[in-house]
């Protein structure tokens, strides 16, 4: 009964999406301020649809919780003996379930938009909801026609076939839904952009409606990428924190577009400039999310992240991609010429700096996109290539370095037009930090260029992030400004971690006999023993390493080389020792013929700052949302009070006797 309720809810939600499209489209035909009577159904349709889609997801969650083995998806992805937490997270640990989560969040955001957003003109709102319904309908069709999560087995299975042991990890259970919610937030930005473009309402009030969605999506993407990077760092056992893998790039590209969009939408809200550009980025950001889904799910690219791939589903997503993105770009090409550019501004102004960095971000996005798709292109000619850090790092740095410098200065500039001469002190300080740090560090040794530049930029940016607060009463600084300061500071922190990891990491690969001691930096490590250990579905060789810093009290680390048997898979479980100023990262390798073991140990100074920075960036985004919402609520209350007072005054006027002449 449970799966049938879920399936019925899904079909009904799809039907409501059709109603939402039709009703929203009628809103477009309204003329002269008249609201078309058929247009009133769009909002309720979106709200009820949200309830139904969430209900469908809850039904699947319930089926996983009770391990209903008559459902194919549960039987092939779960197991009655699994811990409850992993039973629940198993709901979206597979293709069908994750797509259902996707449409659930999509419908929920559409419903929230319909329920709470009253600032837009009804025509624009109708068009937006029509687009949102159109996007949702495609994914309902995808679920119902090619990936039905509620499919029953003809005969219930006796027991489930479990979940990939690698996926039984709390971090990994939370990381995909976070990214998904981010992608879906961008779908609302997309719908709003299309709605505004269709009704020619690209203006600051539209930007203010769009901004919290972009910010929210951007925060979720930031946190999702940060978590994903840390997961790859400790789980893959290669000591790296970013591999430029297609799946990682698939999450980075929407983030780059969303970062550009977030800044551009702020310019539109504050200054009524960059209209076309904002619309373009709105379409681009969602395109990148869908492209990511396509690349990950279709298997056209080979990746270290092995997903179950299916060319037929890939074709379906590609068709959806063509419909939405192709359609959106067509409308953009036809309509954008009619949208005036908005207010003008000088090159040396805050808008100018934002435009420059928007272009830089787009250039980096283009580089990542090209590098990710290049293997696809060459495979057409049967040439297999793998594009890696030697391309991505320098190519993106060409644009990232000027971007970070402008980022340090931009927030100090005034809107519209500013004279750089006004900022002599700040500019001198930033330049001195940048050049000074590079000079001092290169005095102490030979380091690669990029980490060196990174250190200089991190120092300059870390100080510059706080300069907008200079000369202001700290208690009166708006929350949103604090958000910007903290997010920019987070970028500097993250950059500092990356640069330190790149410049100062030490690596020691040694063949150690049990009892032997080796040295790395200030640490000495002793291989106490190597013993076989067993887990529920794996066996492993575990090394006991006694690590001692400067001859102090030893700490035990236990890296493992694990072998899973179902499915057979060998993994390297790293062991980490975290200090405030870095991490010691240990993995165990093979045994040499003479009985010694390969032990690989890295000392990575300040590597944790990469992820602390990511968290700070996310926190900055949350503060920015809080600040905007606070201002909005206050404004709305003021307007409401004004209305009440006006009607009171009118009532008073009417009641009071007309004064005699």
């Amino acid at each position: 009964m449970i799966p049938e309720i879920g399936l019925a809810a899904l079909w009904l939600a799809a039907a409501l999406a059709v109603l939402q499209i039709a009703s929203g489209a009628f809103a477009l035909r309204a003329a002269g301020g008249e609201v078309n009577p058929l247009a009133i159904y769009a909002r309720p349709a979106a709200i009820v649809q949200a309830f139904l889609a969430v209900l469908a997801f809850l039904m699947l969650l319930w089926a996983f919780a009770i391990t209903d083995l008559s459902i194919k998806l549960v039987a092939s992805n779960s197991h009655s003996m699994k811990p409850m937490l992993y039973k629940l997270t198993g709901t979206w640990g597979n293709h069908e379930g994750s797509m259902l989560l996707w449409v659930g969040v999509l419908a929920l955001s559409g419903g929230m938009l319909a329920a709470f957003e009253r600032r837009l003109p009804e025509r624009t709102m109708g068009a937006t909801l029509a687009v949102q319904g159109f996007v949702a309908l495609g994914f309902y069709a995808f679920l119902l026609l090619s990936s039905n999560p509620f499919e029953r087995l003809p005969v219930p299975a006796a027991e489930g076939t479990g979940l990939n042991p690698l996926l039984q990890d709390v971090g990994l259970a939370i990381h995909p839904p976070t990214l998904y919610a981010g992608y879906v937030g961008l779908s609302v930005a997309f719908s709003l952009a299309m709605g505004a473009l269709l009704t020619r309402e690209v203006n600051p009030s539209f930007a203010r409606v769009m901004r919290p969605w972009v910010l929210g999506a951007w925060v979720l993407l930031t946190l999702g990428i940060t978590a994903g990077s840390y997961w790859a760092y400790y789980e893959l056992g290669w000591g790296g924190w970013w591999f430029w893998d297609p799946v990682e790039n698939a999450s980075l590209m929407p983030w780059l577009a969303a970062t550009a969009l977030m800044h551009s939408v702020s310019v539109l809200a504050a200054r009524d400039a960059l209209r076309t550009w904002t619309i373009m980025l709105g379409v681009l950001a969602f395109s990148m999310s869908m492209l990511g889904t396509f690349l990950v799910r279709s298997g056209v690219l080979t990746s270290v992240h092995a997903f179950a791939v299916d060319p037929e589903r890939g074709a379906f997503i590609l068709a959806l991609l063509g419909l939405y993105i192709g359609g959106a770009f067509t409308i953009f090409a036809l309509r954008a010429g009619a949208v005036s550019e908005g207010k003008r501004f000088a090159v040396s102004s805050r808008e100018g700096a934002l435009v420059f960095n928007n272009v830089m971000l787009s250039a980096i996005l283009a580089i990542v996109l090209l590098g990710t798709l290049y293997p696809l292109l060459t495979e057409m000619f049967d040439v297999r290539v793998s594009v890696g850090p030697p391309y991505f790092n320098p190519a993106s740095a060409i644009f990232a370095v000027p971007m970070f410098l402008v980022m340090a200065v931009g927030p100090l500039l005034r809107w519209k037009s500013d004279k750089p001469a006004r900022l002599q002190f700040e500019l001198a300080l930033i330049a001195a930090l940048f050049i000074g740090v590079i000079a001092v560090v290169s005095f102490f040794g030979q380091f690669p260029l990029l980490p060196l530049l990174g250190l200089g930029l991190a120092a300059a940016l870390g100080v510059a992030a706080f300069l907008p607060l200079r000369g202001r009463a700290i208690s009166r600084v708006p929350v949103a400004t604090w958000g910007m300061v903290i997010a920019h500071f987070g970028v500097a922190v993250s950059l500092f971690g990356m640069a330190c990891e790149g410049a100062f990491s030490q690596e020691r690969l040694a063949a150690v006999a049990p009892g032997g001691t080796e040295q790395i930096g200030d640490f000495s490590f002793t291989l106490e023993s190597v013993t076989p250990v067993a887990g529920p579905n794996w066996t492993a060789i575990e090394a006991r390493l006694a690590i001692s810093e400067d001859g102090g009290e030893p700490v035990i680390l236990t890296p493992q080389a694990r072998n899973f048997w179902s499915p057979p898979q060998a993994t390297s479980e790293s062991a980490l020792l975290t200090r405030w100023d870095g991490q010691l990262y240990a993995v165990i390798g093979n045994q040499a013929e003479d009985g010694r073991w390969q032990i690989r140990v890295w000392w990575k100074p300040f590597v944790t700052f990469i992820w602390y920075g990511g968290l700070l960036i996310g926190l900055g985004g949350i503060l920015a949302i809080a600040g905007r919402v606070k201002v909005d609520v206050r404004r709305r209350r003021a307007v409401a009070m004004g209305t009440v007072r006006r009607s009171d005054l009118e009532a008073l006027d009417a009641a009071s006797p007309v004064p005699a002449e």
């Binding site: 056209v300 060319p311 953009f332 090409a333 501004f345 798709l373 696809l376």
Partner: protein, 187 residues
Amino acid sequence: MPPLRFRRNSGMRSRLFLWLPLALFAFFAGVAGYMLTQDKDEFVESTMIGEPLPEFALEPAVAGLPGASKAHFVGGKPRLLNIWASWCLPCIAEAPQLEALQAEGVEIIGIAIRDRPEDVSNFLGRYGNPYAAIGSDKISEVQLAIGSSGVPETFVIDANGVIRYQHIGDIRQADVPMLLGELDNAR
């Protein structure tokens, strides 16, 4: 001097510019669509190709036939090295193909993986014996050393004892001329 201003976009050129995103996207969709329809060839050539066989000398796997060693592969002509086992069902399926290859004058040296002499003997009695020699690899030592991970697998070894080709899985009828071709190439 008045401050420098961004020029307002206008005219035909900027109109055409607006179509650029669509053009780029259409190009991507075309490539991706084409690639989706292509069969994905996940074949990865073994890194052992071009490597000499490691030194090895295995005990005979069955009475009446010599054991296998590297010396068998050196000199004269290219040979086939067949990794198999009596307990392996696809090996039964490939037995007639091995006989056909032998009939063409190919010398086949077998390595029986984790096998017992009486089982090997039964297998040869029932499905025929195409082998010039069979070594017994009780712990998959040689199998792993030459980069084989399953049974059956067949390697083309040239007259200098260098691995020239690796065939994974059982030999089907269609593979016989292909293997003969590879043996020719290895000359």
